[in-house]
Structure formats: C-alpha cells, structure tokens
C-alpha cells in the first residue's frame, strides 16, 4: 500500500486555471472538499464569478452535444498523432476550444442529426412492415372482395382465438345500433388468431369506433399511406418498401461514414479538451477561498509530492505553495488507498477489491492471496490435463483481453493452472484415472479416492489449521501495529484457544499422550476467557461460540479434499462410461462431454471455494476492510 500525504495548495486566484490544469495533467492528487481540511481554520467555499459560471454551463452543453454527435457517427480509429494533438490542444485557451466546438457543431451537427433521424425512421419502418404484411395476409382472404366497395368502410380485427366469442357480442351490438347495414365475416387464420372483417357505411364510422372501443377490441391499424388503399394494394406497396429500405439505409450509412471519416477525430479531440475544462471548472466547488487566494486540499501518494512541487513551480511559479498538512492517526485512517504489490501479486488485487479495499495502514492481503489461492485451487483440481487446459484457456484470454479484469483473471488462472498441474503430478491424475490406466502415470504422493480418504482429509484439515493460525498471527501483529489493546487480547485468546483445541484433538485421536489433556483444557478455558473479556458480559455467551466457530473454520477446509474428490469421481464416471459403450466413437464422445463438464466445474468451483476460504476463514482473523479507493483528479483523455 502506498504511503499517502495530505497537502494543501495555496495560490492567488489569477493562478487558478494553470494550477488546476497542471494538477489535471499530472493526475496524482485526489481533491477533497475544503471542509475536510481539518484543523481550526474553516474556509468558505470558492464561488465562481458569473462569467465563469456561464462558461461552465456553455461548456457542459457543448460536451453533451459533442457526445451525442459522436454516438451518432460510426467510430473511427484516431490518427497516430492524436495524443500529441490532445496535449497541444490542452494548453490552448478555453475560448478557442469553445469557438472551435461551435464551428464543428454548426458544420455537421444538423446534417448528422438529420441522417440519424432518417435512419431511425427507416429502421423502425423495416421492423414494422413485416408485421403489417403478416396481419394483412391474415385478413385479406376475408376482405379481398369487399375492400373496393364505394361509400363503405372496412375494418379488420385480429382477436386471440380463445376470446373469439367476443365477436358474437360485437355482432349483437352492431345489429342493435346499425340494423342490417353491416357485414361481419370471421375465420380462424392460424392456431392462435381469429381474423374478422367488418364492412359498414362510412357515415356510421363514429358509432362503430365507439362500439369497438367499448368492447376493447383493437382494430388493425395500418400506416397512413396504406390505410386508404385496399389490402391487396397495401400488400404490394409493403413489398416495394421492404425492397427499397435496405438500399436507402446503406446510402445513409455511407453518408454517415463519410462524415465520420472527416469529422470524428476533430469531434473526439474537442470533446476531450472541453470535458477536461469542464471537470476543472466543476472541481472548483470543492476549493476554499479567501479574498485573493484559493486553497485546494487533497491526498496524493507521498512519492509524488516532490514531483507535484516541481511541476507547480514550473507551470505556475512561486505564487503556488504546496504545504503538507500534519494528519493525526485517526484522520490518516481516512486516507484513500492505493494498493502497491510486486508484479506477480498484482493480478490478485482485483480479487481483494472484489471484497473491499483494506483500510489505509492496514495489512494488504494481496500477496497472501496470491500465494495461497492458486495453491488451494491446485489442491482441489489436481489434474495434469485439466491444469494444462486451464493454462491454455488462460493464455487465450490473455491474448484476447490485453487489459482489464479479464486480463487479471487470466493471469490468476495461469498460477492456478500451474498448481493444478503440480498437484496432478503428486496425485498421478490425468483426466482422472485415465493417465494411470493408459500411460501408467504413477502418483508422486497419493492416489486420491478409495483408501486414501483419511490421508486427504487430515491433509486438508492440517492445511486449514495452518492457514487459520497464520491468520490469527497476522491478526495479533495487526493489533500490535494498530496499538489496539482490546483486539490484541481477543486475538491472543483466539490463538490460545486454537492451540488448546489442537492439543485436545491430538489427545483424543491418540496422537499425543494423555498428559496433554489437562494443559489442553486449561488452555481452552484461558483462551475463551481472553477472547470473551473485551466483549463484556456478552462474552460469556459469544466467547465459547467464537471458539467453536474456529473449529468450524478449520473443518471448512475439508472442502479442499471434498470438492477435489467429486472432480475425481466425475472423471472416473466419464472414463468408465467410455469403456462401457459398445461403440467407441459414442463412448469417446460421452467421455469427452463429461470431461468438458468436469473441466468447466473444475475451473469455477475451486476458484470460488478458494476465494471463500480466504474471504471467510482467513481474512476474518486479521483483515481491516473499509478503505476508500484513490480517485485522482485526472484527465479522461481521448
């Protein structure tokens, strides 16, 4: 974990822009609200003058418009010198960028918008036309002869077959209101739909609409241009439109592409520079001010302090002062956290963050996770072939995802795969027992399953015992480091109770002489008393439960053996099914599928179980979570 320092930067107000610009480019300071400065001095927040406020509003609007325009255009690769242009542009005055952005928006804003609207309309039409087509095809057989009647209106209805009785009701109501001045034909058109066509004099249109509305029957509504023609003509028109739309869409796409080729890079640059400027203006709300100066308070990694001083001295001059604020122990705990681990452990940082960041100053468990998590994974999976396949998948993922969480996961999988191969050699497993039977692979240690169950279980518990004891030792060290007396007593109590439980287990399993019984019982009582003491009266109940919980913690490590065994047996089932099948191809296929399933389970389950053993059984003994991630004030970039 990087040591942090809290600083305040004081400069005259005329140096606000260059100071914020420098900090933004450096990206090493997390700017705090000035109210969190601490100490007796309470500064009022900085208030921007009306002109700057108006500029902030204008830039915000421009950024939003540029972003929506960029979303409309197909993404383009940025030119190779884009980073240089960005750096150069960042140094130019804001007004230039505002004017430039306005010019760009005036140049293509309306054109791109118009094309995008037309494209959306065509997409919507393309999606809707097949539905109209299907509907018309359903009702056309009923209405083909009626559609052209002069002075009459035709209405098509589609009703779910299970509700088709509603048609009788409609017919009854039509008789009551129109007499015999209508024709209603209905027929089932498919398994789910009944189509009906109603023909009536045009002057009765209002009455019929009201009636259909009352019965909550929806009529088939066609687009305006198709509503006035017969179904047959409408169908033909839909066919023509459907044939024409793709070419029209292609034309629009090509025009948008042309616009993007010409403008995308300029738009991206303008957005980046203005977004940076907007962030600089927005952050002023966290600064404090006196009549002539502003005060900025923030955290940064201590190693960057000299660099910050030098950069501000160079860019702003002597008017900007950087003072380190003295912070007491309690406030230091609120410092943001930057994990800093050796390269091999770095991929495991995201697994720690998945739970919660450690508090500032607390022990960062990443190296321990990097050491034990792949080891546990290997102990569970323990198969040469599965381990090698895990390595292969990890390599593919590494190439596919050069950065991000999946890249880290792939790196973690590399370590896990290596340990799975190592334990595979120790257990002599290659696709379960397949390697032993076919290639005569001998286990270097033990063959899992059958008679070795006891050995495996004892091994798992021994590993668990050591892991939990290590957690307790780290917990004691943490308590000493934090000078927390209560935690120290509680953790020593846990440690003593745990040692006593080991003694008692040794005596009960006749591995230790009976003379250890009395010290064991005495140790257990002493341990429970110590761990109960900081809890007060509640400790009388909670203390023994805690001690018992630690036994549960260690037994939980049995999963290292149990889940590994389930994988062994599933592989065994696959191998036996292959042998039992009369057809060798079918046998190999079934075995392949089962091994694939086993591999999938074997990658997911050991990962989750190893993590769980760390999160629940190990970390709870020493881990102080609740740290806040370091969020430096940093340019977003292109």
């Amino acid at each position: 974990m990087l040591p942090m320092a809290k600083v305040e930067i004081i400069a005259t107000k005329d140096k606000l822009d260059p100071t914020l610009g420098t900090l933004h480019r450096l990206g090493v300071v997390q700017i705090e609200d000035v109210r969190r400065r601490g100490g007796p001095l309470v500064l009022p927040r900085m208030i921007l003058d009306p002109a700057t406020l108006a500029q902030r509003e204008e830039i915000g609007l421009l950024v939003a418009r540029l972003e929506s325009l960029l979303a409309l255009l197909p993404a383009q690769p940025l030119p190779t010198n884009a980073a240089d242009s960005y750096k150069e542009a960042s140094a130019s005055p804001t007004q230039e960028h505002v004017a430039g952005a306005k010019k760009i928006l005036a140049g293509i804003g309306a054109r791109a918008q118009e094309l995008a609207v037309r494209r959306d309309e065509l997409e919507a039409e393309r999606a809707a036309l097949p539905r109209y087509q299907a509907t018309i095809r359903k009702v056309m057989p009923l209405a083909a002869e009626l559609a052209d009647l002069q002075g009459y209106e035709t209405v098509a209805l589609l009703i779910e077959r299970r509700y088709s009785s509603v048609l009788d009701l409609i017919r009854q109501e039509l008789v009551e209101s129109l007499g015999d001045q209508f024709e209603l034909n209905a027929a089932d058109v498919d398994e789910e739909t009944t189509a009906a066509v109603l023909v009536f004099p045009k002057e009765q249109s209002a009455k019929v609409s009201a009636l259909l509305g009352r019965e909550n029957v929806s009529r088939v509504r066609l687009p305006k241009e198709l509503a006035q023609v017969s179904f047959k003509d409408a169908l033909a028109a839909i066919g023509v439109r459907m044939a024409a739309i793709p070419a029209e869409l292609e034309g629009i796409r090509a025009r948008l592409e042309d616009l993007a080729v010409e403008w995308y890079a300029r738009l991206a640059l303008a957005r980046a520079v203005l977004r940076d400027r907007l962030q600089e203006l927005e952050v002023t709300g966290r600064l404090g001010a006196t009549r002539y100066t502003f005060v900025l308070v923030g955290w940064l990694p201590r190693r960057n302090l000299d660099g910050l001083r030098a950069a501000l001295g160079r860019e702003v001059g002597a008017q900007a002062m950087v003072n380190e604020i003295k912070v007491d122990k309690k406030e230091m705990e609120q410092a943001p956290v930057v994990l800093s681990n050796p390269a091999p452990a770095q991929p495991f940082e995201f697994l720690v963050k998945l739970l919660a960041l450690p508090k500032y100053g607390a022990l960062d468990p990443t190296p321990l996770l990097a050491l034990f998590m792949p080891l546990f994974f290997g102990m569970i999976l323990g198969d040469i072939a599965y381990g090698a396949l895990a390595l292969l998948i990890a390599v593919v993922l590494l190439r596919r995802f050069p950065t991000g969480a999946l890249h880290s996961l792939a790196q973690v999988m590399i370590y896990c795969g290596i340990w799975a191969v190592i334990f595979g050699v120790l257990f002599g497993e290659f696709l379960g027992s397949f390697g032993r039977q076919t290639f005569h692979i001998k286990p270097l240690w033990i063959e899992r399953g059958g008679d070795t169950l006891t050995t495996l279980l004892v091994f798992a518990i021994a590993v668990g015992g050591m892991h939990v004891v290590l957690g307790l030792v780290l917990g004691i060290w943490e308590a000493i480091h934090r000078r927390s007396g209560k935690e120290l007593v509680e953790r020593i109590g846990k440690f003593v109770a745990m040692a006593a439980i080991f003694l008692l287990a040794g005596v009960l399993s006749r591995q230790l002489p009976r003379e250890f019984l009395t010290p064991g019982i005495a140790g257990l009582i002493l341990g429970i008393l110590l761990l109960s003491a900081p809890m007060g009266w509640v400790g009388i109940i909670l203390g023994p439960i805690e001690a018992l919980g630690m036994v549960g913690n260690i037994l939980s490590y049995l999963r290292l053996a149990a889940i590994g065994l389930s994988s062994v047996y599933l592989a065994e089932v696959a191998n036996r099914l292959q042998g039992m099948s009369a057809n060798i191809v079918v046998g190999v296929l079934i075995a392949g599928l089962l091994h694939a399933l086993n591999l999938a389970l074997g990658l997911v389950s050991p990962t989750i179980q190893s993590l769980r053993l760390h999160y629940v059984e190990f970390f709870t003994k020493f881990y102080e979570s609740g740290g806040e991630a370091f969020k430096p004030f940093k340019q977003t970039g292109l």
């Binding site: 998945l354 279980l457 179980q609």
Partner: protein, 76 residues
C-alpha cells in the same frame, strides 16, 4: 454383502444428501436476495459471494460426517 455395510452407506448418503438439501435451500434464498441487491449495488459482489458461500459449510460438515461413517464405522 453385509446388511450393516448397506445401512452405513445409506447413512453416509443421507448425511451428505440432507446437508446438501439444506445448503441448497439456504443458497436459493440468499441467491435470490443477492441477485436483487446486486442490481442496485453491483459493488457488493464480493460480500454477496461470501453470503452465498456461507451455507456450503453445512454440506462440508455433512461430508465430514459421511467420511467418518465410512472411515471409522465401516468394517475393514
């Protein structure tokens, strides 16, 4: 085969099976609640994973009992 051995096997099976049912029942309830919580707060994934994995101790203890039945009680 001795009937006693069969009964031991049934006992061991029940120890794991019933514990697995209990774990499944607990995980189903925790899982649905966790899925709901994660839609609101995706950053709680780690905590939810722990919550979801907690009841697995039940089936592990069931396994321990089954293993004891097989190792300690089954005739050699």
């Amino acid at each position: 085969m001795d009937v006693g051995v069969g009964l031991l096997a049934i006992g061991a099976g029940l120890a794991v099976g019933l514990a697995a049912l209990a774990t499944g029942w607990a995980q189903a309830r925790i899982g649905s609640a966790a899925a709901g919580a994660l839609t609101e707060k995706p950053e709680m994934f780690g905590t939810m994973l722990i919550m979801l994995a907690l009841p697995e101790t039940l089936v592990i203890l069931g396994f321990a009992v089954a293993a004891m039945i097989i190792i300690l009680l089954a005739p050699a």
